[in-house]
């Protein structure tokens, strides 16, 4: 599990890489929150294009970030989840708290060049 963070004006993009489970979620959470608390973004983009596995720990991760950015009226966008990750998201009703996008964000930083790591 690893992570790349980009900021552009009031937008933070987190490119998540690898497998998201309980073991890795703690580190991800800390790294994302550190940045998000500093920038107070209008939009937090969580890009799942390089996430190869995710269980409900990933739902906890999204919900926790949603609660955080909502403090200042920000929103969360979920980008490029794979079919099986979308399945977990749908089950959890993630579409009710975050918009789910399947193409690179218009304008914002993109995770396209992120290389998948185990």
């Amino acid at each position: 599990m690893s992570l790349q963070l980009y900021t552009k004006e009031k937008q933070v993009t987190a490119c998540l890489i690898g497998e998201i489970d309980h073991h890795g979620a703690g580190h991800l959470r800390e790294a994302i929150d550190e940045m998000v608390k500093r920038i107070h973004p209008d939009t937090l983009i969580l890009d799942f294009r390089d996430v190869t596995f995710m269980d409900s720990s990933g739902i906890g991760l999204v919900m926790g970030r949603y609660r955080l950015v909502r403090e200042w009226g920000g929103t969360v966008e979920i980008h490029n989840p794979s079919p099986s990750i979308k399945k977990v998201m749908r089950l959890a009703g993630m579409d009710r708290i975050a918009s789910i996008h399947s193409s690179p964000p218009a304008g914002g930083a993109s995770c396209e060049k992120t290389e998948a790591k185990r």
Binding site: D21, H22, H23, S56, G64, R67, L91, A92
Partner: protein, 146 residues
């Protein structure tokens, strides 16, 4: 019900073993020639049950997580994940979607909901102070495997 293949696996309840456990089960299930989606379902459900044993069953301590998986006739896989940790008082309540005893806000209470959605059958047995066992069952439909 004839057992065509089986495996037993045990390891200490360290969170680093969550990935190892689901990968190992996926390798075992590969004999059924599952689709990518079916394999992801199994990995996800196993990950939930193993994480629960580690996070809830043993909490701060290190105990042993036991897995017993079987491949039965008609492309059925049965996976039992067992801990000898704290156990639960009310299984029905624990299995309700969004119910969690975790107070940090970082667990969604959806572990059992995921297991039920991704597997055909989920059976939970638990005894307070004695431990918990979760049995997951799934028939691999996709391809006409052995």
């Amino acid at each position: 019900m004839k057992v065509l293949n089986e495996m037993k696996l045990s390891f200490p309840s360290r969170s680093a073993n969550e990935a190892f456990a689901r990968t190992s089960l996926a390798a075992f299930a590969a004999a059924l020639d599952p689709t990518i989606e079916e394999l992801a379902d199994i990995k996800t459900a196993v990950s939930e049950a193993v994480t629960n044993a580690i996070v809830h069953g043993y909490r701060q301590q290190i105990g042993t997580v036991y897995i017993h998986a079987k491949i039965l006739e008609k492309n059925r896989i049965v996976i039992r994940i067992r801990d000898t940790g704290c156990g639960m008082e009310d299984i029905k309540q624990a299995m309700e979607p969004m119910y969690t005893t975790c107070t940090t806000g970082e667990r969604s209470g959806l572990g059992f909901a995921v297991m039920e959605a991704f597997m055909d059958k989920v059976k939970v047995r638990s005894k307070l102070g004695r431990g918990t066992s979760v049995t997951l069952e799934k028939t691999i439909l996709s391809k006409g495997a052995e």
